[in-house]
Symmetry: C2
Subunit: 505 residues, 2 copies
């Protein structure tokens, strides 16, 4: 954020700035990078090419990890019979309030010539808000014996939850996600899977999105409807609010009992399976934006950027055009021979009929890691004029052409790790250990309002009171190697370990 002693307002590409109005800054970053837009369908967004390319990169990297750990992709129906949702009591309670319901299968003109729904269904269908129920029904047929276990599947799909207050990427009525569903012969195996996927998510998000996360378990009130327990990864945004970036649920035998998922164990006895589910979504893109972007727009970690280097030819005299274009073409091709993260470096030349500044700033706003300007001077000296996205726009440097080419892999790696480091530092600087209720209330009213580590007795009533008073929730009970017990700062009762409180998205 702008340093406190800046006197003159610095001109920024995004207005308002983060400090002036964070939620509006977020919307403006999305708009300036042309990532997505609000659609005419209530609460649903349209993901535009730049936003979708980020999703595809993220999706491909995560998909590789899921396959490498033995999960296979499938595709289940979009619609779920209403009766399926009813079979697990907590589950239906959790989702009934936000279901898109399909009731008819035709449109017909009425007497006044107006189109209206016709052919009512005997049993309505729900557009999937998640697929545990329809997967449960399938598992009950696919699983017969312990030899069919573990069963490890995943699907990439669109999901619909009729949200009242929506915000692009963070909370939309329709979103894209992956949902893993597994069944196991024992509770231990299922719990191991739940934790393994939590680790996989944390590693993925840190490695690719450069977002440091805290792994932990949700309190009872924040559990997935129907789960025995829910684990999550929580990240800190630049406004110090928490974002839940992925969840992994141990479902126990709840869904197995609701859907009759049974197997013959190796002693020929029938048992209910133990199941898990876990998911991440397009919400990760919201997290990515709010973790790294600045007052000039999006900042992309190279590993998920749709473009690594943009080359901007500066043609001031027509007689130089051919030479400059050749120079840029050759530079682009040489860079494409270099590899980053086991793929070719992604390079484009921006030949648009706009000024150098207009072109440069458009890529700043889109978050491209490196911008290279090439004019007559660069051509004559065999150099490139390089801007790096996380540096000030004016902080550009001249480099020998060969040096930039040979170092591009290192530079991209360096940018990737420096974004993670910066975000990690920010998270640490804004995490505080609090030891009294008074300090706690002060912290979240007049204080830093980041992550607070405090002791808590496990009571839902206390959680509710804090939420009501401060709009602060328990983000997770963090996984720690050595639990340090203490006294709950609200009740004085004993507490097994500190938990993380924060305001959240």
């Amino acid at each position: 954020m702008n340093s406190a002693n800046t006197k003159k307002k610095v001109r920024t590409a995004i207005n308002p700035t983060r400090q002036e109005n964070y939620p509006e800054w977020y919307q403006q970053v999305i708009k300036a990078a042309d990532l997505a837009e609000v659609s005419p369908v209530r609460g649903c967004m349209t993901i535009k090419p730049w936003g979708y390319a980020i999703w595809e990169n993220l999706q491909r990297a995560l998909d590789d990890k899921l396959k490498a750990t033995g999960h296979k992709n499938i595709y289940m129906p979009l619609l779920i019979p209403m009766s399926f949702l009813e079979k697990e009591a907590d589950h239906i309670d959790g989702f009934a309030k936000e279901c898109a319901v399909v009731t008819h299968t035709k449109l017909e003109k009425n007497a006044e010539g107006k189109l209206e729904p016709a052919s009512p269904l005997e049993e309505p269908y729900i557009i999937r808000p998640t697929s545990e129920t329809i997967i449960g029904e399938a598992f009950s047929r696919w699983i017969q014996s312990y030899r069919d276990l573990p069963l490890l599947v995943n699907q990439w799909a669109n999901i619909m939850r009729w949200e009242m207050r929506t915000r692009m990427f963070l909370r939309t009525s329709e979103f894209l996600w992956q949902e893993g569903h597994t069944a196991h012969a024992s509770d231990n195996e299922a719990i191991d899977e739940t934790l393994k996927m939590l680790d996989l998510y944390a590693d993925f998000v840190e490695e690719y999105l450069a977002m440091p996360v805290i792994k932990g378990e949700k309190s009872e009130s924040e559990r997935f409807p129907g789960a025995v327990n829910t684990h999550c990864i929580e990240a800190m945004m630049q406004d110090k609010k928490a974002l839940q970036a992925g969840t992994s649920h141990y479902l126990g035998q709840n869904f197995a009992k609701a859907f009759n998922i049974k197997f013959l164990n190796n002693k020929e006895k029938e048992e209910f399976a133990h199941t898990t589910s876990w998911g991440t979504s397009t919400r990760l893109i919201g997290g990515l934006i709010m973790t790294h972007s600045d007052d000039n727009g999006l900042v992309l970690p190279p590993k998920i950027a749709p473009l690594h280097v943009v080359i901007i030819p500066m043609i001031h005299k027509e007689e130089n055009r051919k030479n400059l274009e050749d120079y840029c073409e050759k530079l682009a091709n040489d860079l494409r021979q270099q590899s980053f993260n086991n793929k070719a470096v992604l390079v484009e030349i921006d030949n648009r009929d706009l000024t150098g500044g207009e072109r440069g700033w458009s890529w700043v706003k889109k978050g491209v890691p490196f911008r290279i300007e090439v004019g007559t001077k660069e051509l004559d000296n065999n150099t490139v004029f390089v801007g790096r996205r996380d540096k000030d726009y004016k902080d550009r440097k001249v480099l020998p052409r060969e040096d930039f080419i040979n170092n591009v892999q290192n530079e991209l790696n360096e940018l990737q790790s420096s974004l993670l480091k910066r975000a990690h530092k920010f998270q640490q600087e804004n995490t505080e250990v609090l030891n009294s209720k008074e300090d706690f209330y002060t912290y979240f009213t007049k204080g830093n309002q980041g992550f607070a580590l405090a002791h808590w007795n496990g009571s839902t009533e206390i959680e509710e009171k804090i939420k009501k008073d401060l709009n602060v929730t328990i983000r997770c009970i963090p996984k720690v190697d050595n639990k340090e017990p203490g006294k709950c700062i609200f009740s004085g009762e004993s507490s097994p370990q500190r938990v993380i409180f924060a305001k959240a998205y």
Copy 2:
């Protein structure tokens, strides 16, 4: 198919055989390969891991081609406001009969405690049966000037059309597809795009799915609702029926006028854009099955197979286990060093506790290109015992280990091209030129019932009569370099060229 002079019934893995009952054979191939299954949601299927892996391969290959031709992926909302569908008169007429309609956004318990839809929507939404309308609305905002054109986008999405008679992969209420949507400054440019995408589809389907197709234009009665004209690729299945494998529509200014897609041309005058749309779907998997599979199950072209080589260790004595396992492991790794179609050869070892025959046949039914058995003899002689999927099960041969490894790329290429050749030969053998109405009726009642090339005067009434009499339709007016005019065999009137008639899926 079985040769006519086979006396004794050959044992087959799939029953019934193609000759005995083709539609049922198709269902049994899907079941035996574990590709997909009927779901509890009316008309919708569940795509299982083996089927979905094929879809992913197909999707990735096609996506690369779409990107290489300048198309960018986006994601539009699943739901379409009813009023959008109404804006193009032909379009709504075409889709009103098969729309899944969302009318409520909540479930609530009624007085008897029964769950029912609540919170009715003011305007119902339709689950997209295709996205021209919602894309049209977006294009009207995205396009302002000729500089914004051409606009070339694509999306991978699920689609819903409430079909009455469904068949897995071929016709399901929900299916997966890609839909391209483009806007252009002139009719010529848009027509060029339509034809370019048709060529791209034909090349892709032939190259990857080894399905020879005929490119052509649809007659008026088979046009996409709202299109000026529809182009298609048509393939012949082993029962000689036609399958429409992809379509490309020139939409003229119909959707531009309905959705107000206007641009300022380079003379500052406002014009309506010219748009196109084009799509292929999971139907391609149905086509793939019906083109290549035989009475022992699925046959996969290597370029879209999820697995190229399966290694089956034959461990008859425990003391050989370690040596055999090492041999297989090394063989698998050596094969994985080889490349096919610019990727590593895909190899798995099947160590399941089943007989060699059980394991071998399970991979036959799944269509894996090469099966390798390794027993003590192979170990001692440094050989492999190889079965190729398109050959008879018994027609296996012993090869030196190194020879198989060094030749695996060639072998996979050879199989790929031989499947295409075989299918092409079949199509040619079952295409006939017919010159009289009598011959035509005989051909489709007592004759070969393949593709008939005949002259036609362009009349929709004649088309309807033929459909009613014989259940035969015009599959396309094929693109030919030199049109040979003639006389319509039904009316005697003049005809610009022969068209293709066939029974169809």
